[in-house]
Symmetry: C2
Subunit: 234 residues, 2 copies
């Protein structure tokens, strides 16, 4: 059991009161098992398979996590914290371009380290309000990073937040193809893209997909939890 | 039965002599069925499932295509022709940069139109010498396109042929995520990348993966036929 699991467990509990120690242990075991199962089978893995991996009964499972959204939120709470923190650190950088590019690199590195998290970023989890609120916070921060880097004249005017989504999709393709054989190949893709985002513009670009199409695509691409989609999303 | 199948059938036949008309029909049916099955299940689909889809017996199947490599080669022969032709057309362009970028766009468009073909480009098919020879031809042409565009001062010196492989992997990620929801999203990714390839350099880049690592990754990513790998490839 790792200390992060403990933290995650207490930070995003569906039960706010302190858990008894065996309940805490079960909770941490379930989260650790869910990390394994989600990592292996994607986020569409069943609650039952997570319970099996954790070695707990299905009743215990649902007592700790009444819905899959809550389980996903608990598993990825620390990643979401890091994601929000990356926005804050980027905004604290006095250099708007360095802040912007550092943020892009950090998010792509988080995706390289944990591909399940990239799925979480692109799906809506209506049962997990705390996570949704943090995601919205990070998104607002990203819009501000974009505005700052355009104001300073560093970022091309035709860059939109949807280009980060495109980059995450592209990065997923490189990560999935290269895997352990060339684990740093994605860094070169990200560097090419960041250099292209910089002024002066290298030319016209085809329009990005509109928001509706892109978010439909993201929901389509995300696994399993998409069935809970409510039309929310940014 | 479509005329292209006929052409494909006669161009890359395992039997060079003219086929009797029912044999020709079977051959075309098998190729059409293989397109369907490979498109649906990937290139690791079994010969038996292709025979089932074609409604021919397994004996007929193996009489027409003694190995899966030969079937794959026949299915994709016309695509490989188009691929080689794209190199030739690009080299015929008096403007080295326009030739180079047009080629990148064409190859990415071919990938968007037929994702199975992108797999074929990145795997070695030792049983299909004619296809392998054409692939090698296209690769030599691409190296020449790169050299021309560097000589004219348009293409960054740090671009390597491996960057096209990276781009194809990235493009696969966008295509797979966006699909029908945003079918043109990939064009924007490709435009960002091409603009970044243009001089002047936007800065240092992380090294590309070395050839061995990249081709190991490609074989790992390609489906099924990888078991026939012989260490060949460029």
């Amino acid at each position: 059991m790792n200390p992060r699991d403990q933290h995650t467990g207490s930070a995003v509990g569906s039960a706010a009161q302190p858990l008894r120690s065996d309940a805490e242990r079960n909770r941490a075991r379930i989260i650790a098992a869910a990390r394994t199962v989600f990592g292996r089978d994607g986020l569409n893995a069943s609650m039952a398979s997570v319970a099996r991996e954790a070695g707990v009964g299905i009743a215990t499972m649902f007592r700790r996590f009444p819905s899959k959204e809550e389980l996903v939120a608990a598993v990825f709470a620390d990643r979401m914290d890091a994601y929000v923190q990356a926005t804050e650190e980027a905004l604290a950088d006095p250099d708007p371009w360095r802040g912007f590019t550092g943020y892009i690199e950090t998010v792509c590195a988080m995706q390289a380290a944990d591909r399940g998290f990239a799925d979480v970023l692109t799906m809506s989890l209506p049962g997990a309000e705390a996570l949704e609120a943090r995601r919205a916070e990070a998104y607002q921060g990203f819009l501000e990073l974009i505005a700052r880097a355009k104001d300073s004249g560093d970022l091309r005017e035709d860059f939109t937040s949807r280009d980060l989504v495109l980059l995450l999709m592209a990065n997923a393709g490189v990560l999935s193809a290269t895997g352990d054989a060339a684990p740093d190949a994605w860094r070169r893709l990200v560097a090419w893209m960041i250099q292209s985002f910089k002024t002066p513009s290298g030319g016209e670009l085809p329009d990005p997909p509109d928001d509706a199409a892109l978010y439909q695509a993201m929901r389509r691409a995300s696994l399993g939890v998409t069935s809970t989609e409510t039309g929310k999303g940014h």
